[in-house]
Amino acid sequence: MGVVKRFLQGIFSENPVLFLMIGLVPAIGVTHLAVNGLFVGITTTAVVLAALIVGLILTKVVPNEAQSFLYLALLAIFTTLAHRILVVAYPEIVVGLGMYFPLMVVYGFGLLKASLVNNPIESVAKGLGTGIGFTIILTLVGVIREFLGAGEIFGKTILELDMQIFSLASTVPGGFVILGLLMALINAITKKGGEING
């Protein structure tokens, strides 16, 4: 399979949130604001790609049995680095994310494992596609939840109402419902059944 196909696979047919059910924690936990979804998506993509590239370079010197631990250690290093940089550049967003930022190591590990294929170049292409697919869905869920829950999109007021359309959209229970309905909509469009893979 070509590099472009792998890249597109990560965005569409093997989208981590919609079809592989990976990264559901940030997709519900942080997306009450659209900016959080975009921020976590981009940061996770960068962290996973960095860990993936360094991991692929080190693969030859690390035994197969220890590769999961290598990737986990690399994710921990890059997440810590990203935290150190971003807490200075965007303190409000990083503090607002709370524990979901360090948890990037765990859900990033799922994204990284989903990106690994036999060819290293294709793995990086798929990793980039998976990260972009992940970012698109997190941002989309964030936009929907912020609009329904607060009448805003990226902090800009769209609807000024005394009572919001669906105030619970800003909460975690509302996030479950919105993500479930979005998955059902995508299933209806793509004519898929909704059952998980594997």
């Binding site: 059910m21 990976i22 559901l24 924690v25 519900i28 936990g29 999961s68 986990l72 250690a73 921990a76 997440t79 810590t80 935290h83 150190r84 709370g98 524990m99 360090p102 948890l103 190591v105 765990v106 859900y107 590990f109 799922g110 494992k113 619970l168 909460t171 975690v172 229970p173 509302g174 996030g175 479950f176 419902v177 993500l179 479930g180 309905l181 998955m183 059902a184 909509l185 299933n187 209806a188 898929k192 059944g193 909704g194 059952e195 998980i196």
Partner: protein, 184 residues
């Protein structure tokens, strides 16, 4: 929080890791196809979480407060506790055939999340174990209840697009909304 009952009420109902923190969703999508699998997964997570909090209680005073060193230590604790129970439960007859693999143990955000939350909330000493037990019990119960709902939904005329994970997430959301009325 004053005593164990407060931790229990918080862990099981008002701050349920799965329903109100969106943690452990990997287990929700994989281990709720039937009630027995959900019970086994819940038990595995509960034991891992209690073990992790016991270890954290022991090493807590030596963990530096900075994020840089805290995260690898918490990861190592979560990894070792889930790996330990994977080995123990994987070898017992009762959980024969149960896919509590290393990868799924590693991927469990609930264990790492519970450790991070306990440190953020300033829980220390023996209270950490009560915290871990309550959080694990709450997560396990939520898994079992949602597995029961999923089993019932398999017999219901659910539209094709909603079948599987979408209806499961919507059910989890509605269950969480119902429990919001009992928040302490």
């Amino acid at each position: 929080m004053a005593n164990g009952l407060d931790f229990l009420a918080n862990g099981v109902v008002s701050n349920n890791l799965l329903l109100f923190q969106a943690l452990g969703l990997f287990a929700l999508t994989r281990y709720t196809r039937d009630s027995l699998t959900a019970v086994k997964a819940g038990l595995g997570i509960l034991l891992s979480m209690v073990t992790a909090t016991v270890v954290l209680w022991g090493v807590n005073q030596w963990i530096p407060a900075s994020f840089g060193l805290e995260l690898p230590v918490l990861l190592l604790i979560a990894l070792c506790s889930s790996f330990l129970w994977q080995k123990i439960l994987g070898g017992s007859k009762w959980v024969e055939g149960f896919d509590y693999s290393l990868t799924s143990g590693l991927l469990n955000t609930a264990i790492v999340g519970a450790l991070l939350l306990s440190l953020n909330d300033g829980v220390a000493g023996s209270a950490l174990v009560s915290y871990g037990f309550s959080a694990g019990l709450g997560l396990g119960l939520a898994l079992v209840v949602l597995a029961g709902i999923r089993e019932r939904l398999e017999m219901a005329p659910v539209p094709k697009a909603l079948q599987g994970v979408p209806i499961l997430l919507i059910s989890a959301g509605l269950l969480a909304m119902a429990l919001m009325g009992f928040r302490f």
